[in-house]
Symmetry: C2
Subunit: 346 residues, 2 copies
């Protein structure tokens, strides 16, 4: 018998990785405050999994820190070579490796256009990305060997929570400090994945949806399912799903919906789940407490966290689901076809 996959091991390492990251970065939130003095807008620069983390960052910055956020299109810098006045902008680049050239080049472009610059990376302070940045937040995920990112993603989210605190969001740092323990509790008694894995193994595609903060976790789960299970997983916001692609949900295309246990987006997500089951499709819930579970065909509990931190927990049952589904399909979650750990795009 072989042991657990690297992906499964690394999912389990998240409480420790999060604790180390929060311990290292939370004391440094004043550095963000100083760096951001005189800026009004946050420009996130990222690709792939890191871009899903940036989506969380952008909701957090706008909803909680009262600043406008934008997700950069790196081709504006690297392909169109546009000049944009970025005075008054805090540019935040996220790259797990710190070595994706497109991201390094785009952060350098932002700096040259007048932005203040922050790097969030697991690649260390000697990485090319850190070399470009005014300030580097190093995540402490340790080496990640499975190709699908898990602990490098959740530690990015923790770093973004520190960013929001540094930008003056009126949130309790103690709630962030408690996150590793809450996730550890979930991992100690993981939910029974078999019923949902069995259903997902039979379908070619799935819609993954969430609203507000939870949208980032939905996008990330959709990406994981594409990467490790080759599933046609479409990550869509609650409103965008209603604005058209609800047509795609049917008996052979279920929806997975994610929500925090509380907060202003829960009611809408419960309604969405009811609408999905109302057209005869299956809805699988992740998080959202009793309310969401009752509106769904089946549900997985998520770590109970305040809404602003919920995505750090919501992705964990999704990671477990992805890993189990990949194995059920006879695939190797650690080494999906066509992918390598550091992706170079230009």
């Amino acid at each position: 018998m072989v042991g657990p996959t690297l992906m499964r091991q690394e999912i389990g390492q998240q409480p420790e990785a999060l604790r180390a990251t929060i311990d290292a970065l939370l004391p440094r939130r004043d550095e963000v405050a100083r760096l951001a003095a005189g800026t009004r807008t946050v420009l996130f620069i990222a690709r792939g999994t890191s871009d899903n983390a940036a989506t969380y960052g952008s909701y957090l910055v706008e909803a909680q820190a009262g600043r406008l956020a934008s997700l950069a299109a790196p081709s504006i810098a690297t392909t169109y070579r546009a000049r944009i006045d970025l005075d008054g902008v805090l540019a935040v680049a996220l790259s797990q490796s710190g070595r994706t050239e497109e991201i390094v080049d785009t952060l350098a472009w932002a700096r040259d256009c007048g932005a203040q610059t922050l790097a969030i990376t697991n690649g260390g302070i000697a990485s090319p990305l850190a070399q470009v940045a005014d300030v580097t937040f190093e995540t402490c995920a340790g080496i990640e060997r499975a190709v699908p990112a898990t602990k490098t993603f959740t530690t990015q989210l923790a770093a973004l929570a520190v960013l929001a605190l540094g930008l003056g969001a009126p949130l309790a740092a103690a709630e962030l400090v408690a996150v590793p323990e809450v996730i550890s509790d979930l991992l100690a008694s993981p939910p029974d994945l078999d019923p949902i894995v069995g259903e997902l193994a039979k379908v070619p595609g799935v819609v993954v949806s969430g609203r507000g903060m939870a949208y980032a976790a939905a996008l990330e789960l959709a990406l994981k399912l594409k990467e490790a299970c080759y599933l046609h997983a479409m990550g869509l916001s609650y409103a965008d799903l209603l604005h058209g692609p609800i047509a795609v949900v049917d008996a052979s295309t279920p929806a997975i919906v994610l929500a925090a246990d509380s907060g202003p987006t829960l009611a809408g997500t419960v309604d969405l789940a009811r609408r999905v089951t109302g057209v005869g499709a299956q809805a699988y819930g992740i998080g959202g407490g009793e309310l969401l579970a009752r509106a769904c065909s089946a549900a997985l509990p998520a770590p109970r966290l305040p809404e602003w931190l919920a995505p750090i927990g919501l992705i964990v049952p999704g990671q477990l689901l992805t890993e189990a589904l990949s194995r059920r399909l006879g695939l190797d979650p650690d080494r999906p076809r066509g992918l390598s750990k550091v992706t170079q795009t230009d």
Copy 2:
């Protein structure tokens, strides 16, 4: 024998709708210049098809008009009710009907936060959206009856091209004026869709990709295929496709790649098509001239337009493809299940 579908008729009305829209709006570009004086950032507010138009607008504004752009998350306004200082921001809301409450409310929120406001709508100057805006650009698409938007989308793109000119982009207005004629020529000799329709009728999912300006057309084609063909269509940027979901492309999941015939993103798109066929999947090209066609398994020509205007033409073969595929699948492209013409989200 029944006549052509409403969708097919409305695809054919685009040259006329574009000509009327350009005639009406191009003389008003100075109004944009006045409205935008003192602003530095453009915030787009939209959902669904209009959000795909906004993606085009954001590339155009950043690459050609030298201003930072951001796509708003309406829930920041309507659900989180955040207060953000939007002094120095031009907020541009797009809604075909001008009556989607979430979009109207978010534009009102932006105005209350200090933004200058522009509405782009086919709903008329009496629509709720126009009532909220400082300036309204009315598109002249006429009544659109098929649920999948066609002429209301391309006229939005034309309005956004006028916006870019008004913001001082160093581009030739005469090139925009020529667009209706070039599209008319394509519609007069439409490409043979049968080979690609036949292939797409056999697959459960497809990836649709493009880079830079063409990315917006890729997202819109993916949305059309989801709406009218219930296909698992995943719209992904060139770089995001390489950053993970390339794993999903295989013998039963082809890619459709779109590109302008010239410009800085063509070479990368050709490489992407080669990479897709290199892993044994089919790549179908739209536009991109001879270079892209040769790298693909099959290709459809698009109207030949300068790169900054290419998306207005690139979507047209995609619309024809969607309409034909929907009929081939025995569906009614005019009335997809689960959708209505004005979508209300909150």
